[in-house]
Structures are given as C-alpha cells and as structure tokens.
C-alpha cells in the first residue's frame, strides 16, 4: 500500500509543478480571517467581481482573526480580515515570514443593550453591572434587578440575547464578561433578532442586547441603555455618531483588513480591489448591518493605502477610545 501511495504522490507532485506555473497567471485574490468582518468583505467581493465581470477572482474564507493572521504571515493570503488589531505575537510572525502589511479600518461593529421603554431605572449602566448580570456565575442567582445594584428596584430580571453560535454573542461576552463565549445560559437565546425585540418590548423587566443596526430600526419599541465604561466615565448613548467618534466603548470597535504590501505593490488586481473596498465598503457595510466609518476616515485610509503606509497603529495591543482618524494619522509599526 505504501509503495502505491508513494508512486501516486510522486506523480501528483509532478502534476503540481506543471499546474502551478499556469496557476500564477490566474488572477485570484485570496482573503481569509475573521467571521465578523466576513459579511462586509463578502459583499465587497461580490460587487467587485460583478463590476469586473469575473475577470478577477476573489475568495473569502473564515478562519477567525487569529487563524487568518497565521495564514497571512505565511504569505498564503493577500488580505486578512481582522475584528481586532494585530497582536504582538502576530506582528512577530509576520516579520519572520517577511510579510509587510497595510492596516486599514473598514467599518464599525457595534452592540446595543436595550430595555423596555417603560423601564425608568436603567437609563445608564456600567460595564461592571452588565458583567454581574451576564457572567456565568449569575446563572440561577441574579434574577432580580435589585441584585445587580441597590439603585435598581425589586423587579424580576428577564434577559434575552443571541445564541452561542453568533459572533455578537462572542463579542459581547468578550467585552463585558472578559472572555469570549463565557455567559450565563439561562436567558432567552435566539438567533432571530425579531424574537429579542419582541421579548424586550413586551416585558418591563427585560434586558437584551444585539447588533446596533437592529436597535436603530426598532427605536420606537425599545430604549437603549447608555454605557459607562467604569464608574468615572461618562455615560455614552449608542448612536452612529458616538460609534463614529470611537467613544461608545467597549461595545463598539473598528474592524480591519490587513493588506499584504508586496501584493499591493506588484499586483494591480489587489490594488484595484482594496481601492474598490475603501470606496464602496461604507455603503456595503451599512447594507449588511454594520456602522460605516466617517467619510473622512475612508479618505484617510485611501491616502494611507496609496502611500503604502506600513504597519499597525496599535503597536500590538488592543486599545479602546481612539477615533479612527487618529489611528490613521499615527505612525505605523511593523
């Protein structure tokens, strides 16, 4: 059996060498990474391929931000989707692989915590209070508003949120509880946001969370809770403006694409795709339920891209409360 396999492998290797020559001629832009950024990149890829009438092929995979960077730093992909900035370890991996990159924010991902419009006590909440409500330890124990904070009345607390499969769930648990997917399980879980809206709008003691775009469409039936990062911070109302400014934290974050600088330099199709992304990404991001960046940010990003400004503005550590424009003006670090 092993002899046969070796023979097969050998003949196939020969075939690969033949094929890879022809393969290089084909124009394929390879993208991989975060599932959060995926819908935006997918929409852009779809439109781009339509605009190019199939002349340029784009593939988009989902292997998570971390998995995406692994492939990116080995040079297997041209563009990496990332729902957080590149981390130190990944910067090192890219440096070892000889990969230089351009960091470009493309949209905002934002969540809204909502309560019933008749709820007059929870106009604003701190992240710590949210954590007390949602952490795994709260399961079966925190069932009344007054257990969360003495300033809340004696009312049964009814929670609703997305199911464990959703990226929104990952993001909320990460931002609030501190660890992705770490949440209590005894709440109304539904992947259908309509169910959540229905639930919260029908019960005075209810609280739920979901993507901000969905709150904006149901403003008349829900009340958004203003979020305080900690006791000392001001309470911030979720809105396109506060998200744009980067002050609605930690429930909003910019999402990025990382472009291989060599590919951008040497391959016109990659260049074209990124420019198409920055021109149409905002509109398409809104269409798939994300908040777009301010127009100036896209212009700045375009400028940075055309100047091939290398590296990350974060220095390997995630950071909250910076506006996208500020980020784009910073020195890059590879």
């Amino acid at each position: 059996m092993s002899v046969q396999k070796t023979a097969l492998a050998a003949s196939l290797v020969a075939a690969t060498l033949q094929a890879s020559v022809a393969f290089g001629a084909e124009k394929i832009i390879r993208i991989d990474g975060s599932s959060t950024v995926f819908p935006v990149t997918e929409a852009v890829a779809e439109e781009f391929q339509k605009a190019k009438r199939g002349e340029i092929k784009v593939t988009v995979g989902i292997s998570g931000t971390g998995g995406g960077f692994k492939k990116f730093c080995r040079g297997e992909t041209d563009i990496s989707n990332a729902s957080r900035p590149i981390l130190e370890a990944e910067m090192k991996a890219c440096a070892e692989g000889g990969i230089k990159y351009i960091e470009l924010p493309v949209a905002f991902d934002a969540l809204t915590v909502v309560v019933n419009p008749k709820n007059d006590w929870a106009n604003e909440m701190t992240v710590a209070e949210l954590k007390k409500m949602w952490e795994p330890d709260a399961q079966g124990k925190i069932t009344n508003w007054n257990q969360v904070s003495p300033r809340f009345p004696d009312r049964p607390l009814k929670l609703a949120g997305p199911g464990a499969d959703s990226g929104t769930f990952d993001y909320f648990t990460e931002a609030v509880v501190g660890k992705a997917k770490s949440s209590r399980g005894d709440y109304l879980a539904s992947e259908d946001d309509n169910v959540l809206v229905q639930f919260v709008s029908a019960d005075v003691g209810a609280l739920g969370y979901f993507g901000m775009a969905y709150y904006l469409e149901n403003k008349n039936r829900l009340k958004a809770v203003k979020i305080k990062k900690d006791e000392a911070s001001p309470a911030i109302e979720p809105s396109v403006e506060t998200v744009n400014k980067g002050v609605y934290v930690p429930l909003s974050r910019p999402i990025f694409i990382y472009v291989n600088a060599d590919a951008a330099e040497k391959r016109p199709e990659v260049r074209e795709f990124v420019e198409f992304y920055l021109k149409n990404g905002g509109k398409l991001a809104k269409e798939v339920g994300y908040v777009d960046l301010p127009a100036t940010a896209y212009e700045l990003a375009m400028k940075n891209f055309k100047a091939r400004k290398l590296g990350t503005a974060f220095g390997g550590k995630p950071e909250v409360g910076v506006t996208v424009e500020e980020l784009l003006k910073r020195e890059g670090k590879l």
């Binding site: 690969t16 094929a19 022809a22 092929k57 784009v58 593939t59 989902i62 992947e191 259908d192």
Partner: protein, 322 residues
C-alpha cells in the same frame, strides 16, 4: 409451540389432578408472555426514538427549505449577501469534484489493499499489525485526517488548499471503510470456489480477477458508496485544509480559456456542508432557510447514493452465474 407445551402440561396436571399446579403454570406463562410483550415494546420504542427524530428533523428541514430546493436559480447562482439571490452553484460543483477525486483515489487503493490482505498476504505479525491498524483507522475522528492532510498535502507536497487536497484527504478517511467492506465480501465467498479454480490450474490473480472480484463486486461497491456518502457530509477535515466560504466562480473547465486538463484540481473551492454552516451562522432568518435547502440537497444526495448502492448490489447478484 407454547400451545402444545401447554396442552402437554395440562394433561400431566390433570392426570395428577392438581388444580393449583395448573394455575401456577398458567400464571407463569402469562408472566413470561408479559415480559415478551414488554421487551417487544421497549424494542419498538428504541427503534422509533431514532427513526422519529430523524423524520421530524427531515420534515422540519423540508418545511424550511423546500422553496429553495425547487428554484432553479438556487442551483445556478453563486452565494450572495442578499438571501434572495444566493445559491449553491460553487458549492455543489465543489462537492461533486471533490467526490470525484475521492472516488478515483480511494476505490482502486482500497480494493487493491483489501485483495492483497485477504488473498495474498502471508499470515504473520506484520499483516496482523496492518489489519489491526486498518480496523482502528476506521474509528479515527475525521479532524485528525484534516490535520494530517494539512501537513502532508498542503505543506509538504505543496498541493495548496485545493480540490485535489480535499479529495485525497477524504479518500484517506474512507479508505478503511472500503478495505473492511471489500474484505468482508471477499471472505463471504465460499472456499470451494477458490479451490475449484485452483484445481483447474488458475493462478491466484486469475482466481481474483475471474471469480472473486466479480462475485464480491456488489459488496465492494456498497462499501465504496457508503464511504462516499460519509465523505459528502464531512466538514471538519475540509475546513482544516482550508476550504473557503465565499467563492463566486467555478474551477477552470479543462481545455477552455487556456486551462490545462488538470488545472481544476488545484482550484480553490467550497463544499455544500461549509456553505450550509456559513448560512446557518448568519443572523438573518432568510439565510437559515437557504441552509435548510442545502441540508435537503445533502440528504437527498446521500439517499440517492445509498439507493444506488442497493440497486447495484441487487443487479450484480442477479447477473452472477458460474
């Protein structure tokens, strides 16, 4: 049977004239029959738990997805951000091509290995070791094959994240299934057929070629197709080796637009289970219906393959004469 026994017992009982003994006997029989009935009921429930669950799931899937399955565009549209325009063109073509590679790679290798192990291999510790391993391999989780393939095919042999890699990975995965099935069906051939052929002066290869393989072909095909049916729904190894999620083009058609005969083997691809998984993880319910549609397509494909296997076996058995 029980009745005659009862009659005999009754005769003995009445001849002895012990009425209470008869009563005891009857009670015993009633009790045993009750147990019999009880076990039948337990067995029936056990059977139904599986069947009913499956049927309910399938009906639920059909209710969600039947509209899409009936639309022609569903099969000839690429995936899209708009559910109304989204289809499974790239994923069903991907699945079909991956299955083709799997079949071409796994069937000859598996059958040859099984024939060797069953008919040629000397019985020694090495053969024993191989046999134990083949049987064990059938139980190895599929993700392990994915990891193996990532190292071997993608990085060492440099096949890339291609149809070829996926096909070979799944071929490796179903190889034990084919080997075991082939050996079983070779073993079920009566020894006297081999002996008769040898007695006529046939070589071992002639025996295999003219007698054993034709007779075993029904069982072999069943094994191959069951293996393929397992491979068609497999997601874990295909994700590991890097099947893509959004892909809006088909692999190059051989000899068209300057493509070579085998270029499609190295094309990026996606498959049905991955498309289904992706749509399921979307928040919009319209995408969940699309996912249900894909589910129906996969189940129907599996059923068709299994049905084909049964039909083939039947046909081959009927044609078989010595």
């Amino acid at each position: 049977m029980a009745q005659t026994a009862l009659d005999e017992q009754r005769k003995t009982a009445s001849s002895e004239g012990g009425k209470s003994a008869l009563l005891q006997l009857r009670q015993g029989i009633v009790r045993r029959r009750r147990w019999d009935l009880f076990f039948a009921a337990v067995g029936f429930v056990a059977t139904m738990v599986g069947v009913v669950t499956l049927v309910v799931l399938f009906i639920d899937l059909i209710l969600d997805g039947y509209e899409h399955v009936l639309r022609k565009e569903f099969y000839f549209n690429f995936p899209s951000r708009r559910p109304s325009e989204a289809g499974i063109y790239s994923s069903w073509v991907g699945t079909a091509l991956v299955m083709l590679v799997t079949f071409v790679a796994a069937a000859p290798l598996g059958v040859a290995a099984a024939v060797y192990l069953e008919e040629y291999a000397p019985k020694n510790w090495l053969t024993e070791l191989i046999e134990i391993n083949v049987t064990n391999l059938a139980a190895v989780p599929s993700i392990v094959y994915g990891l193996l393939a990532l190292g071997l095919f993608v990085y060492i042999l440099n096949f890339g994240q291609s149809i070829l890699t996926a096909g070979l990975t799944l071929a490796l995965m179903i190889l034990p299934v084919i080997i075991v099935a082939t050996r079983e069906s070779l073993r079920s051939i009566p020894v006297h057929i081999r002996e008769a052929a040898f007695a006529c002066g046939a070589t071992r290869w002639q025996v295999v070629k003219d007698h054993l393989l034709p007779y075993a072909s029904g069982g072999i095909l069943t094994g191959v197709i069951i293996g393929m049916a397992r491979a068609i729904g497999e997601t874990a190894p295909v994700i590991t080796i890097g099947a893509l999620t959004f892909i809006a083009f088909l692999p190059p058609i051989p000899f068209q637009n300057g493509a070579g005969a085998f270029e499609w083997l190295f094309s990026p691809f996606t498959v049905l289970p991955i498309q289904m998984f992706n749509w399921l993880s979307r928040p919009q319910p319209a995408f969940h219906d699309l996912a249900a549609g894909v589910g129906i397509v996969i189940i129907v494909a599996t059923l068709l393959m299994n049905g084909f296997a049964i039909w083939l076996r039947y046909r081959i058995r009927q044609k078989l004469t010595w």
